[in-house]
Subunit: 254 residues, 2 copies
Amino acid sequence: MEVMVNEIKSWIYDAGEVIKKSFQTDDLVIDTKSGRTDLVTNLDKATQKFLTQRIMAFDPDAKILGEEDGKDRLEAFSGRVFIIDPIDGTMNFVLEQENFCIMVAVYEDGIGKLGFVYNVMKNEFLWGGRGIGVYCNDEKIEPPKDISLSEGLIGLNHVMYQKDSWHVQKMGEMALGVRMTGCAGYELIGLLMGRRAAYVSRLAPWDYAPGGVLIEELGLRMSNIEGHKLNLVDRELFVAATPKAYENIMEIKG
Amino acid sequence: MEVMVNEIKSWIYDAGEVIKKSFQTDDLVIDTKSGRTDLVTNLDKATQKFLTQRIMAFDPDAKILGEEDGKDRLEAFSGRVFIIDPIDGTMNFVLEQENFCIMVAVYEDGIGKLGFVYNVMKNEFLWGGRGIGVYCNDEKIEPPKDISLSEGLIGLNHVMYQKDSWHVQKMGEMALGVRMTGCAGYELIGLLMGRRAAYVSRLAPWDYAPGGVLIEELGLRMSNIEGHKLNLVDRELFVAATPKAYENIMEIKG
Protein backbone atom coordinates (compact mmCIF):
# COMPACT_ATOMS: atom_id res chain seq x y z
CA MET A 1 0.00 0.00 0.00
CA GLU A 2 2.84 2.39 0.85
CA VAL A 3 4.34 1.98 -2.63
CA MET A 4 0.99 2.85 -4.18
CA VAL A 5 0.55 5.89 -1.91
CA ASN A 6 3.94 7.28 -2.89
CA GLU A 7 3.35 6.55 -6.58
CA ILE A 8 0.01 8.35 -6.61
CA LYS A 9 1.40 11.33 -4.70
CA SER A 10 4.22 11.70 -7.22
CA TRP A 11 1.78 11.62 -10.17
CA ILE A 12 -0.37 14.27 -8.56
CA TYR A 13 2.59 16.53 -7.77
CA ASP A 14 3.79 16.13 -11.38
CA ALA A 15 0.33 16.99 -12.70
CA GLY A 16 0.29 20.04 -10.42
CA GLU A 17 3.59 21.28 -11.89
CA VAL A 18 2.18 21.06 -15.41
CA ILE A 19 -0.87 23.04 -14.34
CA LYS A 20 1.26 25.71 -12.63
CA LYS A 21 3.41 26.09 -15.74
CA SER A 22 0.30 26.51 -17.89
CA PHE A 23 -0.28 29.90 -16.26
CA GLN A 24 2.85 31.19 -17.96
CA THR A 25 1.42 30.45 -21.40
CA ASP A 26 -1.66 31.65 -23.23
CA ASP A 27 -2.93 28.40 -24.70
CA LEU A 28 -5.80 27.58 -22.36
CA VAL A 29 -8.75 26.26 -24.39
CA ILE A 30 -12.07 26.60 -22.59
CA ASP A 31 -15.23 24.71 -23.56
CA THR A 32 -18.60 24.41 -21.88
CA LYS A 33 -20.35 21.12 -21.10
CA SER A 34 -23.92 21.10 -19.73
CA GLY A 35 -24.23 24.91 -19.65
CA ARG A 36 -22.36 28.21 -19.62
CA THR A 37 -21.15 27.76 -16.03
CA ASP A 38 -19.99 24.14 -16.51
CA LEU A 39 -16.50 24.50 -17.92
CA VAL A 40 -13.86 22.11 -19.13
CA THR A 41 -10.41 23.09 -20.38
CA ASN A 42 -7.66 21.34 -22.30
CA LEU A 43 -5.82 21.14 -18.96
CA ASP A 44 -8.65 19.17 -17.30
CA LYS A 45 -8.49 16.69 -20.17
CA ALA A 46 -4.69 16.54 -20.31
CA THR A 47 -4.46 16.02 -16.53
CA GLN A 48 -6.97 13.19 -16.58
CA LYS A 49 -5.12 11.61 -19.52
CA PHE A 50 -1.79 11.94 -17.71
CA LEU A 51 -3.16 10.34 -14.53
CA THR A 52 -4.89 7.60 -16.53
CA GLN A 53 -1.64 6.71 -18.30
CA ARG A 54 0.22 6.50 -15.00
CA ILE A 55 -2.50 4.36 -13.45
CA MET A 56 -2.60 2.00 -16.42
CA ALA A 57 1.19 1.60 -16.37
CA PHE A 58 1.02 0.89 -12.63
CA ASP A 59 -2.00 -1.43 -12.70
CA PRO A 60 -3.32 -2.43 -16.16
CA ASP A 61 -6.34 -4.14 -14.57
CA ALA A 62 -7.58 -1.06 -12.73
CA LYS A 63 -10.80 0.65 -13.76
CA ILE A 64 -11.17 4.39 -13.99
CA LEU A 65 -14.06 6.67 -13.11
CA GLY A 66 -13.31 10.27 -13.96
CA GLU A 67 -14.99 13.56 -14.70
CA GLU A 68 -13.76 13.90 -18.30
CA ASP A 69 -13.39 11.91 -21.52
CA GLY A 70 -16.55 9.84 -21.21
CA LYS A 71 -15.19 8.01 -18.17
CA ASP A 72 -17.98 9.29 -15.95
CA ARG A 73 -19.83 6.01 -15.48
CA LEU A 74 -18.78 2.50 -14.39
CA GLU A 75 -20.76 -0.71 -14.75
CA ALA A 76 -19.41 -2.24 -11.56
CA PHE A 77 -17.11 -1.35 -8.68
CA SER A 78 -15.50 -4.79 -8.39
CA GLY A 79 -11.70 -4.88 -8.29
CA ARG A 80 -9.58 -1.75 -8.05
CA VAL A 81 -11.14 1.51 -9.19
CA PHE A 82 -9.40 4.87 -9.42
CA ILE A 83 -11.78 7.82 -9.15
CA ILE A 84 -10.27 10.98 -10.62
CA ASP A 85 -11.16 14.65 -10.64
CA PRO A 86 -8.31 16.14 -12.66
CA ILE A 87 -9.25 19.73 -11.81
CA ASP A 88 -11.92 20.15 -9.15
CA GLY A 89 -13.08 23.78 -9.33
CA THR A 90 -12.45 24.40 -13.02
CA MET A 91 -14.22 27.77 -12.84
CA ASN A 92 -11.76 28.89 -10.14
CA PHE A 93 -8.86 27.49 -12.16
CA VAL A 94 -9.92 29.62 -15.13
CA LEU A 95 -10.99 32.80 -13.33
CA GLU A 96 -8.92 32.85 -10.13
CA GLN A 97 -5.94 30.68 -11.06
CA GLU A 98 -6.23 29.30 -7.52
CA ASN A 99 -8.68 27.46 -5.24
CA PHE A 100 -8.77 24.29 -7.34
CA CYS A 101 -7.68 20.74 -6.49
CA ILE A 102 -6.38 17.60 -8.16
CA MET A 103 -8.15 14.65 -6.53
CA VAL A 104 -7.82 10.87 -6.69
CA ALA A 105 -9.48 8.07 -4.73
CA VAL A 106 -8.68 4.36 -4.79
CA TYR A 107 -11.55 1.96 -4.19
CA GLU A 108 -11.25 -1.80 -3.87
CA ASP A 109 -14.39 -3.88 -4.35
CA GLY A 110 -16.51 -0.85 -3.60
CA ILE A 111 -14.66 0.18 -0.45
CA GLY A 112 -12.72 3.45 -0.27
CA LYS A 113 -9.08 2.69 0.54
CA LEU A 114 -7.04 5.79 -0.33
CA GLY A 115 -7.80 9.46 -0.88
CA PHE A 116 -5.73 12.36 -2.25
CA VAL A 117 -6.84 16.01 -2.38
CA TYR A 118 -4.20 18.51 -3.52
CA ASN A 119 -4.87 22.24 -3.43
CA VAL A 120 -2.25 23.01 -6.06
CA MET A 121 -1.63 26.75 -5.66
CA LYS A 122 -1.78 26.65 -1.86
CA ASN A 123 0.51 23.62 -1.80
CA GLU A 124 -1.80 21.93 0.69
CA PHE A 125 -1.97 18.20 0.06
CA LEU A 126 -4.32 16.05 2.17
CA TRP A 127 -3.83 12.33 1.67
CA GLY A 128 -4.18 9.04 3.51
CA GLY A 129 -6.66 6.24 3.78
CA ARG A 130 -8.37 3.46 5.62
CA GLY A 131 -6.19 2.40 8.52
CA ILE A 132 -3.23 4.63 7.65
CA GLY A 133 -4.48 7.96 8.96
CA VAL A 134 -4.67 11.33 7.25
CA TYR A 135 -1.75 13.61 6.43
CA CYS A 136 -1.47 17.28 5.49
CA ASN A 137 1.70 17.42 3.38
CA ASP A 138 4.13 15.46 5.58
CA GLU A 139 2.33 15.82 8.87
CA LYS A 140 -0.22 13.40 10.29
CA ILE A 141 -3.33 15.28 11.39
CA GLU A 142 -5.67 14.59 14.27
CA PRO A 143 -9.45 14.53 13.87
CA PRO A 144 -10.79 18.10 14.18
CA LYS A 145 -12.74 19.10 17.29
CA ASP A 146 -16.33 17.83 17.17
CA ILE A 147 -17.99 21.25 16.99
CA SER A 148 -21.71 21.73 16.52
CA LEU A 149 -23.06 23.66 13.53
CA SER A 150 -23.52 26.74 15.73
CA GLU A 151 -19.80 26.79 16.49
CA GLY A 152 -18.45 26.77 12.95
CA LEU A 153 -18.71 27.75 9.29
CA ILE A 154 -20.81 25.93 6.70
CA GLY A 155 -19.87 25.64 3.04
CA LEU A 156 -22.98 25.74 0.83
CA ASN A 157 -23.94 25.41 -2.81
CA HIS A 158 -25.35 28.71 -4.10
CA VAL A 159 -28.25 27.19 -6.02
CA MET A 160 -29.43 25.21 -2.97
CA TYR A 161 -29.03 28.33 -0.84
CA GLN A 162 -30.97 30.51 -3.25
CA LYS A 163 -33.83 27.98 -3.47
CA ASP A 164 -33.60 27.12 0.24
CA SER A 165 -33.57 23.42 -0.70
CA TRP A 166 -33.81 21.21 2.39
CA HIS A 167 -33.80 24.32 4.64
CA VAL A 168 -30.16 25.07 3.95
CA GLN A 169 -30.85 28.74 4.76
CA LYS A 170 -31.71 27.69 8.30
CA MET A 171 -28.46 25.70 8.40
CA GLY A 172 -26.64 28.87 7.38
CA GLU A 173 -28.39 30.86 10.09
CA MET A 174 -27.41 28.33 12.74
CA ALA A 175 -23.76 28.34 11.64
CA LEU A 176 -21.38 31.19 12.42
CA GLY A 177 -21.13 31.99 8.73
CA VAL A 178 -21.80 30.77 5.18
CA ARG A 179 -18.97 30.21 2.74
CA MET A 180 -19.11 29.50 -1.01
CA THR A 181 -15.82 28.67 -2.66
CA GLY A 182 -16.73 26.78 -5.83
CA CYS A 183 -14.44 23.85 -5.04
CA ALA A 184 -15.49 20.66 -3.24
CA GLY A 185 -11.86 19.80 -2.51
CA TYR A 186 -11.34 23.16 -0.80
CA GLU A 187 -14.42 22.56 1.36
CA LEU A 188 -13.48 18.98 2.26
CA ILE A 189 -9.93 20.02 3.17
CA GLY A 190 -11.56 22.74 5.28
CA LEU A 191 -13.62 20.15 7.12
CA LEU A 192 -10.62 17.84 7.65
CA MET A 193 -8.53 20.73 8.98
CA GLY A 194 -11.24 22.00 11.36
CA ARG A 195 -12.02 25.17 9.36
CA ARG A 196 -15.58 24.06 8.62
CA ALA A 197 -18.33 22.46 10.70
CA ALA A 198 -20.13 21.25 7.58
CA TYR A 199 -20.41 21.25 3.81
CA VAL A 200 -23.63 20.72 1.87
CA SER A 201 -23.69 20.70 -1.93
CA ARG A 202 -24.72 18.79 -5.04
CA LEU A 203 -21.78 16.60 -6.03
CA ALA A 204 -20.66 13.89 -8.42
CA PRO A 205 -18.68 10.84 -7.21
CA TRP A 206 -15.29 12.32 -8.27
CA ASP A 207 -16.13 15.46 -6.24
CA TYR A 208 -16.59 13.59 -2.97
CA ALA A 209 -14.88 10.17 -3.19
CA PRO A 210 -11.25 11.32 -2.69
CA GLY A 211 -11.99 13.61 0.26
CA GLY A 212 -14.62 11.17 1.47
CA VAL A 213 -12.08 8.43 2.18
CA LEU A 214 -10.20 10.88 4.43
CA ILE A 215 -13.39 12.10 6.08
CA GLU A 216 -14.37 8.58 7.09
CA GLU A 217 -10.85 7.77 8.29
CA LEU A 218 -10.97 10.80 10.63
CA GLY A 219 -14.35 9.78 12.04
CA LEU A 220 -16.29 12.61 10.42
CA ARG A 221 -19.74 11.99 8.90
CA MET A 222 -20.77 11.88 5.25
CA SER A 223 -23.96 10.80 3.42
CA ASN A 224 -26.52 12.05 0.98
CA ILE A 225 -29.00 14.60 2.33
CA GLU A 226 -31.49 11.85 3.17
CA GLY A 227 -28.94 10.15 5.39
CA HIS A 228 -28.23 7.28 2.99
CA LYS A 229 -24.87 6.02 1.79
CA LEU A 230 -23.64 7.88 -1.29
CA ASN A 231 -24.03 5.70 -4.39
CA LEU A 232 -20.88 6.64 -6.40
CA VAL A 233 -23.08 6.80 -9.52
CA ASP A 234 -25.34 9.84 -9.65
CA ARG A 235 -24.90 13.43 -8.69
CA GLU A 236 -26.40 13.61 -5.21
CA LEU A 237 -27.12 16.18 -2.54
CA PHE A 238 -24.11 15.68 -0.34
CA VAL A 239 -23.54 16.31 3.39
CA ALA A 240 -20.21 16.08 5.21
CA ALA A 241 -19.77 17.40 8.73
CA THR A 242 -18.40 16.87 12.19
CA PRO A 243 -20.52 14.27 14.05
CA LYS A 244 -22.34 16.99 16.02
CA ALA A 245 -22.95 19.27 13.05
CA TYR A 246 -24.15 16.26 11.04
CA GLU A 247 -26.85 15.63 13.64
CA ASN A 248 -27.82 19.33 13.53
CA ILE A 249 -28.14 19.18 9.74
CA MET A 250 -30.20 15.98 9.73
CA GLU A 251 -32.60 17.61 12.19
CA ILE A 252 -32.92 20.84 10.22
CA LYS A 253 -33.33 19.27 6.77
CA GLY A 254 -36.64 17.74 8.00
CA MET B 1 4.76 60.25 0.27
CA GLU B 2 7.22 57.43 -0.40
CA VAL B 3 8.53 57.64 3.17
CA MET B 4 4.99 57.31 4.49
CA VAL B 5 4.23 54.36 2.17
CA ASN B 6 7.29 52.46 3.37
CA GLU B 7 6.57 53.29 7.02
CA ILE B 8 2.99 52.03 6.82
CA LYS B 9 4.02 48.87 4.99
CA SER B 10 6.57 48.07 7.69
CA TRP B 11 3.97 48.57 10.47
CA ILE B 12 1.54 46.26 8.70
CA TYR B 13 4.16 43.57 8.10
CA ASP B 14 5.17 43.80 11.79
CA ALA B 15 1.53 43.48 12.86
CA GLY B 16 1.18 40.47 10.56
CA GLU B 17 4.12 38.73 12.24
CA VAL B 18 2.53 39.19 15.66
CA ILE B 19 -0.72 37.69 14.38
CA LYS B 20 1.08 34.71 12.80
CA LYS B 21 2.92 34.03 16.05
CA SER B 22 -0.36 34.12 17.98
CA PHE B 23 -1.36 30.84 16.28
CA GLN B 24 1.40 29.09 18.19
CA THR B 25 -0.12 30.08 21.53
CA ASP B 26 -3.47 29.39 23.14
CA ASP B 27 -4.31 32.80 24.53
CA LEU B 28 -6.85 34.04 22.02
CA VAL B 29 -9.69 35.82 23.84
CA ILE B 30 -12.90 36.00 21.81
CA ASP B 31 -15.79 38.36 22.57
CA THR B 32 -18.93 39.18 20.66
CA LYS B 33 -20.07 42.70 19.76
CA SER B 34 -23.49 43.29 18.14
CA GLY B 35 -24.39 39.57 18.05
CA ARG B 36 -23.05 36.04 18.13
CA THR B 37 -21.56 36.23 14.63
CA ASP B 38 -19.89 39.63 15.20
CA LEU B 39 -16.60 38.72 16.86
CA VAL B 40 -13.71 40.69 18.26
CA THR B 41 -10.55 39.19 19.75
CA ASN B 42 -7.69 40.49 21.85
CA LEU B 43 -5.63 40.37 18.64
CA ASP B 44 -7.98 42.76 16.81
CA LYS B 45 -7.64 45.20 19.70
CA ALA B 46 -3.87 44.74 20.10
CA THR B 47 -3.31 45.18 16.35
CA GLN B 48 -5.34 48.40 16.24
CA LYS B 49 -3.49 49.68 19.30
CA PHE B 50 -0.12 48.84 17.74
CA LEU B 51 -1.00 50.61 14.47
CA THR B 52 -2.41 53.60 16.36
CA GLN B 53 0.80 53.98 18.36
CA ARG B 54 2.90 53.88 15.21
CA ILE B 55 0.64 56.40 13.47
CA MET B 56 0.72 58.77 16.44
CA ALA B 57 4.52 58.57 16.65
CA PHE B 58 4.73 59.30 12.92
CA ASP B 59 2.10 62.06 12.80
CA PRO B 60 0.72 63.27 16.16
CA ASP B 61 -1.88 65.42 14.37
CA ALA B 62 -3.46 62.56 12.44
CA LYS B 63 -6.97 61.37 13.23
CA ILE B 64 -7.93 57.74 13.41
CA LEU B 65 -11.08 55.93 12.31
CA GLY B 66 -10.95 52.25 13.19
CA GLU B 67 -13.18 49.29 13.81
CA GLU B 68 -12.26 48.78 17.48
CA ASP B 69 -11.81 50.72 20.74
CA GLY B 70 -14.59 53.25 20.20
CA LYS B 71 -12.75 54.83 17.28
CA ASP B 72 -15.54 53.96 14.85
CA ARG B 73 -16.81 57.49 14.28
CA LEU B 74 -15.17 60.78 13.29
CA GLU B 75 -16.63 64.27 13.53
CA ALA B 76 -14.83 65.57 10.45
CA PHE B 77 -12.52 64.31 7.73
CA SER B 78 -10.37 67.45 7.59
CA GLY B 79 -6.61 66.94 7.73
CA ARG B 80 -5.00 63.52 7.63
CA VAL B 81 -7.12 60.54 8.63
CA PHE B 82 -5.94 56.96 8.97
CA ILE B 83 -8.73 54.41 8.52
CA ILE B 84 -7.84 51.05 10.08
CA ASP B 85 -9.28 47.58 10.01
CA PRO B 86 -6.85 45.68 12.22
CA ILE B 87 -8.28 42.27 11.28
CA ASP B 88 -10.79 42.27 8.45
CA GLY B 89 -12.51 38.88 8.52
CA THR B 90 -12.26 38.18 12.25
CA MET B 91 -14.51 35.12 11.92
CA ASN B 92 -12.08 33.61 9.39
CA PHE B 93 -9.14 34.56 11.62
CA VAL B 94 -10.73 32.63 14.51
CA LEU B 95 -12.16 29.65 12.61
CA GLU B 96 -9.90 29.26 9.57
CA GLN B 97 -6.68 30.93 10.71
CA GLU B 98 -6.51 32.33 7.17
CA ASN B 99 -8.47 34.50 4.73
CA PHE B 100 -8.21 37.67 6.84
CA CYS B 101 -6.52 41.00 6.10
CA ILE B 102 -4.88 43.91 7.86
CA MET B 103 -6.05 47.08 6.13
CA VAL B 104 -5.12 50.77 6.34
CA ALA B 105 -6.19 53.79 4.27
CA VAL B 106 -4.82 57.31 4.41
CA TYR B 107 -7.24 60.13 3.62
CA GLU B 108 -6.33 63.82 3.35
CA ASP B 109 -9.14 66.37 3.62
CA GLY B 110 -11.65 63.69 2.71
CA ILE B 111 -9.76 62.36 -0.30
CA GLY B 112 -8.35 58.83 -0.38
CA LYS B 113 -4.58 59.02 -0.93
CA LEU B 114 -3.11 55.63 0.07
CA GLY B 115 -4.48 52.14 0.53
CA PHE B 116 -2.99 48.94 2.03
CA VAL B 117 -4.66 45.51 2.07
CA TYR B 118 -2.54 42.65 3.39
CA ASN B 119 -3.78 39.05 3.22
CA VAL B 120 -1.50 37.91 6.02
CA MET B 121 -1.44 34.11 5.64
CA LYS B 122 -1.31 34.22 1.83
CA ASN B 123 1.43 36.84 1.96
CA GLU B 124 -0.42 38.86 -0.66
CA PHE B 125 -0.04 42.59 -0.03
CA LEU B 126 -1.87 45.04 -2.28
CA TRP B 127 -0.85 48.66 -1.75
CA GLY B 128 -0.54 51.95 -3.58
CA GLY B 129 -2.52 55.11 -4.01
CA ARG B 130 -3.63 58.10 -5.94
CA GLY B 131 -1.13 58.80 -8.70
CA ILE B 132 1.38 56.14 -7.64
CA GLY B 133 -0.30 53.04 -9.04
CA VAL B 134 -1.13 49.75 -7.35
CA TYR B 135 1.34 47.04 -6.36
CA CYS B 136 0.98 43.39 -5.41
CA ASN B 137 3.92 42.76 -3.08
CA ASP B 138 6.78 44.32 -5.11
CA GLU B 139 5.18 44.21 -8.52
CA LYS B 140 3.16 46.99 -10.10
CA ILE B 141 -0.12 45.62 -11.42
CA GLU B 142 -2.11 46.65 -14.45
CA PRO B 143 -5.86 47.29 -14.31
CA PRO B 144 -7.73 43.98 -14.73
CA LYS B 145 -9.59 43.29 -17.98
CA ASP B 146 -12.93 45.11 -18.10
CA ILE B 147 -15.11 41.98 -18.06
CA SER B 148 -18.89 42.09 -17.86
CA LEU B 149 -20.72 40.42 -14.97
CA SER B 150 -21.51 37.44 -17.22
CA GLU B 151 -17.79 36.80 -17.72
CA GLY B 152 -16.71 36.62 -14.09
CA LEU B 153 -17.38 35.72 -10.46
CA ILE B 154 -19.35 37.87 -8.03
CA GLY B 155 -18.64 38.02 -4.30
CA LEU B 156 -21.87 38.43 -2.32
CA ASN B 157 -23.02 38.93 1.26
CA HIS B 158 -25.00 35.90 2.42
CA VAL B 159 -27.77 37.86 4.14
CA MET B 160 -28.40 39.99 1.05
CA TYR B 161 -28.35 36.83 -1.08
CA GLN B 162 -30.78 34.99 1.19
CA LYS B 163 -33.21 37.95 1.23
CA ASP B 164 -32.59 38.73 -2.47
CA SER B 165 -32.04 42.39 -1.51
CA TRP B 166 -31.72 44.59 -4.60
CA HIS B 167 -32.04 41.51 -6.85
CA VAL B 168 -28.61 40.19 -5.92
CA GLN B 169 -29.81 36.68 -6.80
CA LYS B 170 -30.25 37.82 -10.39
CA MET B 171 -26.73 39.29 -10.24
CA GLY B 172 -25.51 35.87 -9.12
CA GLU B 173 -27.35 34.17 -11.96
CA MET B 174 -25.81 36.50 -14.52
CA ALA B 175 -22.29 35.92 -13.16
CA LEU B 176 -20.33 32.72 -13.80
CA GLY B 177 -20.47 31.93 -10.09
CA VAL B 178 -21.19 33.25 -6.60
CA ARG B 179 -18.48 33.37 -3.96
CA MET B 180 -18.77 34.11 -0.22
CA THR B 181 -15.53 34.44 1.66
CA GLY B 182 -16.34 36.45 4.77
CA CYS B 183 -13.57 38.99 4.15
CA ALA B 184 -13.98 42.30 2.31
CA GLY B 185 -10.22 42.56 1.83
CA TYR B 186 -10.12 39.16 0.15
CA GLU B 187 -12.89 40.22 -2.22
CA LEU B 188 -11.35 43.60 -3.05
CA ILE B 189 -7.95 42.02 -3.70
CA GLY B 190 -9.83 39.57 -5.94
CA LEU B 191 -11.33 42.44 -7.90
CA LEU B 192 -7.98 44.24 -8.21
CA MET B 193 -6.27 41.06 -9.40
CA GLY B 194 -8.99 40.21 -11.98
CA ARG B 195 -10.37 37.21 -10.05
CA ARG B 196 -13.77 38.87 -9.56
CA ALA B 197 -16.08 40.87 -11.80
CA ALA B 198 -17.88 42.37 -8.82
CA TYR B 199 -18.42 42.44 -5.07
CA VAL B 200 -21.66 43.47 -3.37
CA SER B 201 -21.97 43.54 0.42
CA ARG B 202 -22.90 45.59 3.45
CA LEU B 203 -19.74 47.30 4.66
CA ALA B 204 -18.38 49.81 7.14
CA PRO B 205 -15.85 52.50 6.09
CA TRP B 206 -12.84 50.51 7.38
CA ASP B 207 -14.00 47.55 5.28
CA TYR B 208 -13.92 49.43 1.99
CA ALA B 209 -11.74 52.55 2.34
CA PRO B 210 -8.29 50.84 2.09
CA GLY B 211 -9.18 48.68 -0.91
CA GLY B 212 -11.31 51.50 -2.28
CA VAL B 213 -8.32 53.81 -2.80
CA LEU B 214 -6.70 51.08 -4.92
CA ILE B 215 -9.91 50.36 -6.80
CA GLU B 216 -10.24 53.99 -7.85
CA GLU B 217 -6.57 54.23 -8.80
CA LEU B 218 -7.00 51.25 -11.17
CA GLY B 219 -10.08 52.78 -12.80
CA LEU B 220 -12.55 50.29 -11.34
CA ARG B 221 -15.94 51.45 -10.05
CA MET B 222 -17.22 51.74 -6.48
CA SER B 223 -20.31 53.31 -4.87
CA ASN B 224 -23.21 52.49 -2.62
CA ILE B 225 -25.95 50.37 -4.17
CA GLU B 226 -27.91 53.46 -5.14
CA GLY B 227 -24.98 54.72 -7.18
CA HIS B 228 -23.99 57.46 -4.71
CA LYS B 229 -20.57 58.19 -3.26
CA LEU B 230 -19.86 56.17 -0.13
CA ASN B 231 -20.12 58.40 2.95
CA LEU B 232 -17.32 56.99 5.17
CA VAL B 233 -19.72 57.19 8.12
CA ASP B 234 -22.44 54.55 8.08
CA ARG B 235 -22.49 50.91 7.12
CA GLU B 236 -23.76 50.97 3.55
CA LEU B 237 -24.69 48.53 0.83
CA PHE B 238 -21.49 48.54 -1.16
CA VAL B 239 -20.75 47.82 -4.84
CA ALA B 240 -17.33 47.50 -6.43
CA ALA B 241 -16.84 46.12 -9.92
CA THR B 242 -15.17 46.42 -13.27
CA PRO B 243 -16.71 49.29 -15.26
CA LYS B 244 -18.80 46.89 -17.36
CA ALA B 245 -19.97 44.74 -14.46
CA TYR B 246 -20.81 47.91 -12.52
CA GLU B 247 -23.19 48.95 -15.30
CA ASN B 248 -24.74 45.43 -15.28
CA ILE B 249 -25.31 45.67 -11.52
CA MET B 250 -26.81 49.14 -11.63
CA GLU B 251 -29.26 47.90 -14.25
CA ILE B 252 -30.23 44.77 -12.33
CA LYS B 253 -30.63 46.42 -8.91
CA GLY B 254 -33.55 48.44 -10.35
